[in-house]
């Protein structure tokens, strides 16, 4: 066999590095366009030159500059962070559960966060949106911990199927508790409605910057951890037994991946409220471009997640003038047909 051996010439895969970098560049270009649109478009359109001017040499009294700097820049930043966090968290969740329909909501993050926010409103009387973030974050984290704990019981530990089932069960339980509280407390209902819709617009004056600053460490740690977990996710994708046979500590790999996902999804939910579909759709948009390597999927999610969410926010501002439609609603409206197109075009199963 040695005579036919050709060492150090592992043939290049069909998807070359160049193609992936090229696609990533295109995705980054799309994101740049979306960001420009988000800063320029809205109830009052601002020319791009003025947008640039406001960023480089802001004039305090200028109306256009005010709009860009105080309204559009913060919500664009929120959109970037939340979109990236949700996109990466969604890819993580799909990898952890080997389930193409998984999204950050599947493991109970949204339900837990919503329940805690409602409890904070109705029992503790918290009304300022800035006060919700820690409840939302804690609720999302706690729900995920419970889901993981339930799934880890019994034979085989936290297998993908058990995680998904436990997530559904906890989500159902938390949602029914939530409904119970809301039915008996109409003030809580009216406050909660606005949180639950999912929006990039500031949660109270000056609140956005504080919220982001408070959650930035979690987003950073979650993001770094997510990328650290990609090698394991690549191996877990081939089945737990094969991964274990290759020397992966499966429980630790899955636990740390979940920690990363909950840090990202919990922070995103705390900042913007529950936003569906970004985490679900973004990985499906990416896979045809990159193949199943999670190092690339996560890199793309970091770009395409924000692009999708910020684009949804811009569209929401444009189609409902003079008012606006929340990004969370637009993304769901956009996401449904996109998802249907994906399902029709290719089989999405078999992660």
């Amino acid at each position: 066999m040695t005579q036919t051996l050709r060492p150090a010439t592992a043939p290049a895969p069909a998807r070359t590095l160049r193609a992936r970098v090229l696609w990533l560049g295109i995705a980054a270009g799309v994101l740049a366009l979306v960001i420009a649109a988000s800063l320029a478009l809205g109830a009052r359109d601002v020319p791009l030159a003025v947008v640039l001017e406001s960023l480089t040499t802001p004039v305090p009294g200028d109306n256009d500059h005010q709009v860009v700097l105080q309204q559009r820049l913060p919500r664009t930043l929120v959109g970037l962070l939340v979109g990236a966090a949700l996109g990466v968290a969604g890819a993580l969740m799909q990898g952890i559960t080997r389930n193409p329909l998984a999204d950050p909501g599947l493991l109970g993050v949204n339900a837990g966060a919503s329940l805690f926010v409602v409890l904070a409103i109705s029992i503790l009387g918290v009304t300022a949106p800035a006060g919700y973030i820690w409840f939302a974050f804690a609720g999302g984290a706690l729900a995920t911990v419970v889901v993981y704990g339930v799934a880890a019981l019994g034979r085989g530990g936290a297998t993908p199927v058990k995680l998904a089932l436990a997530g559904m069960a906890i989500t159902a339980g938390a949602t029914s508790l939530l409904t119970l509280v809301l039915l008996t407390n109409t003030t809580a209902l009216s406050t909660y409605r606005f949180w639950a819709v999912g929006s990039l617009a500031g949660r109270g004056a000056g609140g956005t910057a504080d919220t982001i600053a408070a959650l930035a460490p979690f987003l950073l740690v979650g993001g770094l951890l997510a990328f650290a977990c990609t090698r394991w996710l690549n191996l877990l994708a081939m089945g737990d037994e094969l991964a274990r046979g290759l020397g992966v500590n499966v429980a630790r790999a899955r636990g740390l991946s979940m920690l990363a996902a909950v840090l990202l999804a919990g922070s995103a939910t705390a900042i913007a409220g529950p936003i569906a579909f970004v985490g679900l759709v973004v990985p499906h948009l990416i896979r045809p471009l990159t193949g199943p390597d999670y190092r690339w999927i996560l890199s793309f999610a970091l770009v395409l997640g924000p692009a999708l969410l910020v684009a949804a926010d811009v569209i929401g501002r444009l189609i409902a003038q003079p008012g606006e439609l929340e990004a969370g609603l637009v993304v769901a409206l956009l996401g449904a047909p996109v998802m249907i197109a994906i399902v029709r075009r290719a089989k999405v199963s078999g992660l």
């Binding site: 066999m1 036919t4 051996l5 050709r6 060492p7 150090a8 010439t9 592992a10 043939p11 290049a12 895969p13 069909a14 998807r15 080997r98 019994g154 034979r155 090698r231 690549n234 191996l235 994708a237 081939m238 089945g239 037994e241 094969l242 274990r244 046979g245 290759l246 020397g247 992966v248 500590n249 896979r287 045809p288 193949g291 199943p292 390597d293 089989k347 199963s349 078999g350 992660l351």
Partner: protein, 332 residues
């Protein structure tokens, strides 16, 4: 049943510990059963085994794998209790037995996919449960049943994942990894498929890809759970020929669970017959595959005749509706 053909005829740690220099299929005599007389003049031997020199690297790279008092259970259900087994180094061992007898469970225990409830598995005298996971993975590779290829993955990408135990945060991919991947692709004959998507391949090609991934891992002991399941007979032989070649040319210790007794007899140096979670018999195929042991382990009436190709034992099941003609009755 007569006790002289009963379990563990070779005893552990004795003859089975040495690489079987004389292949069962080449033996002309020594059978305890007149019905399984060997034919040594078979012309169609694979040339790899005909040449004793081909076995030289086998002795070099041997690892000693044994189970001592091994008990394995799923939850409360005990599958294997107090099992002792020695796997001959640098040989091909086939584990056979009826469905549910614990073959796959034993294999999973040997690869540390299951934590023993008692006893343990020793690799070169050290308990595998104390070894770091990646260190163990550099010595023992396992190909479980029905591994899943992520959708859209290419052959080269999949095989590269076998390098995980050789990499760490501080050791990025290097030339030795490229070389190992290239060698694995070459050894399994799939160099030309490297850029293809795994989900476009046939079942036989796909199984080669998985074996290539396990080879890229560069284990000295390769455990395979029914590597020929779902393959047609041509591809079954192709895969087993490949494993034989790996064993003869690289000295890899191969341990596989097989369903087909005749393929097991043909390709294994050493056979482990399991029954109800215990080792029922071990030894060379011609020692072990007797009509009595087949009846005990499988509850199957069968004739054992010489395999016209290899000269080894060939199991011919009888079934309910066929009887052996009187003139072909069991030899005595």
């Amino acid at each position: 049943m007569t006790s002289d053909v009963h379990p563990r005829t070779d005893g552990r740690g004795t003859s089975a510990a040495d690489p079987p220099a004389d292949r069962p299929r080449t033996r002309a005599s020594g059978s305890t059963n007149a019905g399984t007389v060997r034919r040594s003049d078979t012309p169609s031997q694979p040339d790899v085994s005909a040449d004793p020199a081909a076995r030289a690297p086998a002795q070099r790279a041997g690892h000693d794998l044994r189970a001592e008092g091994l008990s394995l259970a799923y939850e409360a259900r005990q599958v294997i209790a107090d099992l002792d087994l020695h796997l001959p180094r640098a040989a091909i061992t086939a584990i056979v037995g009826a469905n549910g007898c614990g073959k796959s469970t034993l294999l999973r225990g040997l690869a540390r996919l299951l934590r023993p409830t008692g006893g343990g598995v020793l690799l070169d005298g050290r308990s595998i449960s104390t070894l770091p996971a990646r260190e163990l993975a550099r010595t023992i590779g396992i190909l479980p049943q029905g591994p899943q290829a992520p959708e859209g993955i290419t052959v080269a990408e999949l095989v590269r994942r076998g390098r995980y135990p050789h990499r760490s945060w501080f050791q990025p991919w290097d030339r030795s990894d490229d070389a190992a991947v290239a060698e694995a692709l070459t050894a399994t004959g799939i160099v030309d498929l490297a850029g293809r998507r795994v989900d476009e391949l046939s079942g036989g090609q796909r199984q080669r890809v998985w074996i290539a991934m396990a080879l890229a891992q560069e284990p000295d002991v390769l455990l395979l759970d029914e590597p020929t399941t779902f393959l047609d007979v041509t591809h079954q032989l192709e895969i087993l020929d490949l494993l034989l070649e790996l064993n003869r040319e690289r000295g890899a210790t191969v341990v596989m669970v097989l369903h087909d007794l005749n393929l097991a007899a043909r390709y294994a140096d050493h056979l482990v017959v399991m029954r109800a979670g215990a080792v029922h018999a071990t030894g060379r195929p011609d020692q072990v595959l007797t009509e009595e042991i087949i009846a005990e382990a499988f509850g199957l009436r069968a004739r054992v005749v010489p395999d016209p190709v290899s000269g080894g034992p060939l199991v011919v099941p009888i079934g309910r509706f066929h009887t052996t003609p009187p003139d072909h009755d069991l030899p005595h």
